[in-house]
Symmetry: C2
Subunit: 480 residues, 2 copies
């Protein structure tokens, strides 16, 4: 019998090459254990509502009313919904042509894209054009579309690492080449332009056309906030090397320190002035899935294009149109997120109470987790300055490396599997994000409920310290 079209041997090789550790071996094993009745703490993915975070009331009220527009004519509607949510729902329905059940323009509702542009102007102090803002089903879909536009084949290199595997997986799927640069762990995951330059030169030497680089700010998995000076260097580097910049800024409201507030790549680019501000091609991404919204399941995002020529913008529009339109309810979440209730509005106080409650708790959890990891044997961890993740380095003793080899596992996968089996804590091994040779990490979200956090960190410490005990030799030697 010849192989059939969808037999494993017949399918697209790029599909097989693509790896996505966030829902990889560890996640699959955790799901199995859960089915068997074990209590699992899913800290593998930044999914706040799955770990008990409550949705903000105001945006949910607005979208619920848009889903049930017949309620707007009901005399009792005021018993269940505040007047400002009702007014907002009417506003957003007026921006649709046919409510939430109609496809929007493939770029998203024009009225919501206008609201995104207003937000960007307020945030950065520079105007932008709604025609250059496309709404998407979550930021991931936007990233995939832009990478598909850029990558022509295996000669096109891209530059993220350590990175969120959305990038590496998509690049593999599209048949592109990953050109890695390493962030500096000892400089709190700062970005060294000399390191960048070396990576690009090495890749070009191998014949790779390096076309773009990615920054994730605040960092995933690394949790750092890039300084303005660092961002300026990156943009100057992109200008000198003729690279497009993809700015993944989905964590822009997740900031847990005051020294380095979030600054957008676009603001820094505009501040640099011509020629750089007119030349560097920048695409910035945002999402309703992160921040204090955490509305992951709604799948809402946008990307904004700077210095992209109109012919290319048209091509991106055309490809977006093949899947007709992003989902409309999440477009409304995006509009509400960027235009929250204002002082004096009925819902203002409640909204502020709910949102600051979430952010302040995240800030405390970031600290609890960093301190917890740093209290463990052979574990060192930078403070989570932003985003939703802690990325401790785990210094595995040689005998643990040996045991991993025996088990035919990558060392950090070996460690994380043992952690999962012992404690139910489901993390992602650092090897899923890229890390320097011989150095090992894991990524965990800082999202478990604040009340549960001390017990989780105790449980981790107990596992880790016993693991180290087991695999360290008598001299207490640990690998650096």
């Amino acid at each position: 019998m010849p192989p059939k079209p969808l037999d494993y041997g017949s399918i697209n090789e790029n599909v097989k090459k693509s790896q996505y550790a966030v829902r990889g071996e560890l996640y699959l094993r955790a799901s199995e254990l859960q089915k068997e009745g074990k209590k699992i703490i899913f800290t593998n993915v930044g999914n706040p509502h799955a770990l008990g975070q409550k949705p903000l009331s105001f945006p949910r009220q607005v979208v619920a009313l848009c889903q049930a527009p017949f309620l707007l004519d009901d005399p009792n509607v005021g018993l269940l919904f505040p007047a400002d949510a009702i007014a907002r729902a009417k506003h957003y329905l007026s921006l649709t042509s046919g409510g939430l059940g109609a496809y929007s323009d493939s770029r998203g509702l024009p009225g919501v894209r206008k609201e995104v542009a207003e937000f960007i102007l307020r945030r950065d102090g520079y105007p932008t054009d709604p025609e250059l803002i496309y709404l998407t089903d979550g930021a991931s879909k936007g990233v995939m579309q832009i990478l598909n536009t850029i990558i022509r084949g295996q000669d096109d290199g891209i530059l993220p690492v350590p990175q969120y595997p959305l990038y590496s997986a998509t690049i593999a799927l599209l048949g592109g080449t990953l050109v890695p640069y390493y962030l500096e762990e000892t400089a709190n995951w700062g970005l060294d332009v000399n390191e960048l330059r070396q990576s690009v030169e090495q890749a070009r030497f191998k014949g790779i056309t390096v076309k773009a680089m990615v920054i994730i700010n605040p960092g995933n998995p690394t949790g750092q906030c890039l300084s303005e000076a660092n961002l300026r260097e990156v943009l100057q580097f992109c200008y000198q090397e003729n690279l497009a910049l993809l700015g993944d800024e989905v964590y822009q409201t997740n900031i847990y320190q005051d020294e380095r507030p979030f600054i957008s790549s676009r603001k820094v680019l505009m501040d640099l002035g011509p020629p750089i501000s007119k030349e560097v091609q920048l695409i910035s991404f945002h999402s309703v899935s992160k921040g204090y919204y955490g509305e992951c399941g709604q799948r809402g995002g946008y990307f904004e294009m700077t210095n992209i020529p109109p012919e290319t913008v048209d091509e991106i529009y055309k490809v977006a149109s093949i899947s007709l339109s992003p989902n409309v309810p999440a477009q409304i979440f995006m509009g509400v997120m960027l235009h929250p209730p204002q002082p004096g509005d009925i819902s203002y106080d409640k909204f502020v109470r709910e949102s600051t409650g979430i952010l302040e708790s995240l800030r405390r959890r970031a600290r609890l987790m960093t301190d917890g990891f740093n209290s463990c044997r052979n574990v060192v961890c930078n403070f989570t300055e932003g985003a939703m993740y802690s990325f401790p380095q785990i210094r595995l003793p040689p005998r643990a490396l040996e045991a991993a080899k025996q088990a035919a596992k990558v060392p950090d996968v070996f460690y994380c599997l043992k952690l999962l089996e012992a404690t139910g804590i489901s993390t992602v091994p650092g090897s899923g994000f890229g890390q320097r040779e011989g150095v090992f990490h894991l990524r965990t979200t800082i999202l478990p409920d604040e009340e549960d956090m001390p017990a989780i960190m105790d449980s981790f410490k107990k596992f880790n310290d016993e693991f180290m005990e087991q695999y360290e030799d008598n001299r207490g030697y640990s690998r650096l």
Copy 2:
């Protein structure tokens, strides 16, 4: 200055090659005219709510409650929502882990996938496995994922035509080759297996590996319902030629005649028995965007896999996981759609009234439109047996062809643009779907409001007959 990474000359050639006429030149021109204040009737895309179709109350009530779960604890909730919608909302929330704001499993919520499997069993009389059902952001995203799994490069051909350009556009985007077969217009768009066989043989002669074929049943753009005998032939052909079958069945409840009810490809496959039923690799697609739901903007769909080996299913799961999860609200629409209110339920009568109202009106509109087209000079049109489209053949006189050539337009694009400018009716030229050499069509939806339909058809007839008058020579010659 060297070209920049996102300049038109630098981007992925496959992106440029991909064409999607449903939102192509005609749609863009219509959008411009609308901006200028002209009244446009958007019949280019099957988007019922945009043309005034009201959403069904029950599913919207359920999803609105899921969006605002705090209402479930409100003593006044019963004033705005019926008890069965409240119960259903609680049921669907219990299937999530964290409500609508949490990512689901990348394949969709297990509980909803179970409900899809139950629906398929009821519909076909054969059980299926929820593990082989993946929920998607609309059927389009599922189709794109499956094509991406199949297509390895330009040697892999696929077989739809005349077809919905989602297929041709995606195949171009993925660098595959389109192998066309023609449906028989004079046999009410039936499918001729000899024609199919010839197409495959010709493609193989050119060195193309033909891997899969697509059927759209009921047909888009052609509106036909395939007979059971025809489906059987197609499946036998796939078995003989070692082709996977993609069954696009999103219009399965849009049926406007009684002779040929919808039968799923999967049922016909199972009825055929072994070896065929155990061998042919089938993927079937469904959606919440069509039928009497028409919930296009929600972006909900599923695909079901038959005879696909587990290793390939795992690869498809892995790639789905890169974009984390389909949007959760639309998963709930899918659940409700496949499990409507039952006799005795509070919402049953209203639900039946609303849904049959829509279907009966569509049936009348299908007839109105076919008759309207057939009353026009040089226009012949098969009856819309199912789906949402009318696909009349427009017999353009030689002088019209000449005028199109002068204007550097494909003849049917020329005609449709003139129609748009004269009447505001926004259609899609047949060339966007594929048609035999020298034969021209347009596609329009049957979705305009029933009340408006006579005026629209009058306006079309007036334009068409004047157009023909203008371009026919004195002998009244018209091109066949």
